[in-house]
Symmetry: C2
């Protein structure tokens, strides 16, 4: 193979520094989820094709990666379809499995399949990659991680409040305490639609509102009118969802405007209960945003979305769904969950320089290799340092000093320890602090306490 090798479009290799930073995000999220009693699950990358098909709309179906059956996959395929080169229907004859497209449908499948081994309400998190045959572009990949956290099997609004606390805690721990957490409720939107005489257009209304950030109020209005929504209703809706300001007052105004809509009252009450169950510090950060619609049809109550002023798209979002497992035959399982967009969070943190400096350091101490005798001291001292929890490595080759120092520098090593011929004889070591540039000569037996001191 003469050409330089490559990877499929839309996929990425992660270099060490990137991997460490990604791991930092996952570890931070994981720790918070566990603090709140959420437990991890994993599902296979491959699902049966019929588990996934029809769950993401027609467009979604096209973006699912199908896996070619192994062995003589054409044996049973229709000759006529093959002759017609009917790719779309042949696909289902030669592929039984597919790569998961999100974590939500596999989670619903998991709950139904494993229901007898779970105790409900079941609080799970799941951090795994998903695959979509989308057109790659900046910030959009064909393989990316989702980081989902859900409660299923309870319709308590305390779960919504808990998820808002989790969101606040995760982002605060990532250094992003200034995210904007916005909530809304589909029942309010549905009540608004009803009070504007647009109940039958609800889906088309929410799809349009969902685009507000991108196309502006005029764009949304235009889209609604184009789709045949009555002008008076459109005006009323756009006026209502504009309501902003202090939450209690806003809800009161809203309640006055949607008189008679039980659905809206219910939504308003839900928002109140959720807010009441939040600790003061979190409540202060949560905004009510009636323009928040989220296109996804399966949401039935709360809608949550997290954004940041310095980032164009949302970095976390979700909501309440009353019947997700119904598609797999298990009814009456209400759930609520949010998904953290790990790749976007990564990009935002990178842009704002929020990753801890220490992440870069692959090891704290490097011992220079001066030859086969001297290196034996280094090996033993490195082992001693590790016992103390200090990461340490010995340069494997007896290379030029300059090369070894460059290696230490590239890897972000904090201390370089030199045991040359002289030091070896005297049981000494020269320690160079790469941060301060200081160089110290000390007895080998003082090394651990010396480095421990410097690190603390």
């Amino acid at each position: 193979m003469a050409n330089k090798p490559s990877i499929p479009k839309g996929t990425r290799d992660f270099l060490p520094e990137q991997s460490l930073k990604r791991q930092f995000i996952f570890d931070t999220a994981r720790k918070v989820f566990q603090q709140f009693g959420y437990v991890p699950i994993e599902t296979p990358a491959m699902e049966n094709l019929d588990t996934l098909l029809g769950k993401y709309g027609e467009e979604g179906d096209k973006l699912i990666y199908k896996i070619l059956n192994n062995g003589d996959f054409l044996a049973k395929a229709s000759e006529e379809k093959l002759a017609n080169k009917d790719s779309q229907s042949i696909a289902f004859e030669i592929s039984d499995r597919a790569l998961r497209y999100d974590l939500t449908v596999p989670f619903a499948r998991f709950v139904v399949q494993n229901q007898n081994e779970l105790s409900f309400p079941f609080k799970r998190y799941q951090i795994q990659p998903v695959w979509r045959a989308d057109r790659p572009q900046k910030g959009r990949y064909r393989e990316f991680y989702q980081c989902d956290v859900d409660v299923i099997g309870s319709n308590s609004l305390l779960s919504e409040a808990e998820l808002l606390c989790i969101i606040d805690e995760v982002f605060t721990n990532l250094g992003l305490s200034d995210v904007r957490i916005r909530i809304n409720n589909r029942k309010i939107l549905s009540g608004i639609a009803a009070s504007a005489g647009m109940s039958e257009h609800f889906q088309s209304m929410t799809v349009a509102i969902d685009k507000l950030d991108k196309i502006g109020v005029d764009g949304v209005k235009e889209e609604m009118l184009r789709n045949g929504l009555p002008e008076a209703g459109v005006k009323k809706v756009l006026n209502l969802i504009k309501l902003k300001g202090e939450v209690t007052a806003t809800l009161k105004m809203l309640a006055g405007a949607v008189v008679g809509s039980e659905e809206a009252y219910k939504g308003i009450d839900e928002v109140k209960v959720v807010l009441k169950a939040l600790p003061e510090a979190v409540r202060e950060k949560v905004e009510l945003d009636l323009t928040l619609a989220r296109g996804l049809n399966y949401y039935t109550g709360a809608i949550i979305e997290v954004g940041h002023d310095d980032f164009p798209s949302s970095i976390c979002g979700g909501g309440r769904y009353d019947d997700l497992t119904g598609i797999f035959g298990l009814k009456d399982m209400s759930g609520v969950g949010v998904s953290f967009g790990a790749d976007r969070i990564y990009d935002l943190m990178e842009e704002k320089g929020l990753f801890p400096e220490t992440l870069k350091a692959s090891s704290q101490v490097l011992f220079v290799n001066f030859g086969k005798d001297e290196v034996m001291s280094a090996i033993h001292l490195a082992a001693d340092l590790r016992t103390e929890g200090i990461s340490a490595e010995v340069y494997p080759d007896e290379a030029k000093m300059k090369k070894q120092m460059k290696y230490a520098n590239d890897k972000g090593v904090r201390f370089v320890v030199i045991i040359g011929e002289e030091e070896f004889k005297l049981k000494k070591a020269t320690v160079k602090d790469m941060l301060s540039g200081d160089q110290d000569s000390l007895d080998q037996k003082e090394l651990i306490s010396f480095i421990n001191d410097k690190l603390s």
Copy 2:
């Protein structure tokens, strides 16, 4: 969908307890790797099909999962092959990508592709799933994790020693300090072959020896003879590889028996250097086993394999390869690495009950939900506990006490906190220690220190 949903044969869902245990293995390994200055990388699940093809032998190629091209994949496919239902060659016309089959080939591809951004010697670890369309059977899955650690870009034997230390440290930290670490060297085997006049049969000889554990000495002998290896040579080889006992003495005997084979001497020297570079505690555990061959053709020096007396197959293995990146056009990159079989290690640890009991506990404290007033105290106290690093959750529904206690029990929660009507009024809490069965009544403000005391 009326049928209960399922997942593809050979794949698995992981329930929370299993996921936590798996995570424990990965975290333990990761921590050790980092202590030795190894850094993580990640590669995409999908590689270009031509990156993988031809790297795993003819059998391996058949086990690679190919991904169907999206869109009108049949458009460019040969009509003749379609008419003939020639699955094997059509596969390459309708699939450009495949799921990775191991981490070694993607690593070689990664090193070549990213060589300008890496500093060598490059010490990486990688913990990711791989996929093989193998026939599923006990302990063999179609999706499983590999956990690889390699040094590339140096031929120093200190790296072999370092990997042996890592192996010892990982298994000790997992509670498996009694693993058997066996080493050998392909150069010794090659020298043995030469001294027995069987150099031309080297590959066939190592493949046979590799089966020693399974088919015994007689079986190996039979296979060699059946493959046309000269009887005198076979006898000599089988006699030599039997050599066992104290390493230095064994190597001396061996040196006497392979007089004149430079290759064997080189291998013997390598083993000596590796052993010398090991701390006493690790050296004591390492056995020289001349019957260790490992079938894989790309090994050129040290061979390492780790087993356990209570487990039928190896749980970790690897070796030195002098030209892995050559297949992608980058010559002279010697490397050495081992792969930990996470799924097998899991099975062994499960069998021996080695996972820490505390892993099960999804949260340490559960607050019973007694209604909308009482639960507000619970929410605030739970938040306070989390600030102290104690995981705590509030049962979301106002369910029957029995149901809430069962939930706590199923989840392995250590403390159940009850704030009923009476406790709420008096700012008290009743704490039940699920481990001891003790029940205490205390002031709410004492809760944190009470639980901290019990936990420490």
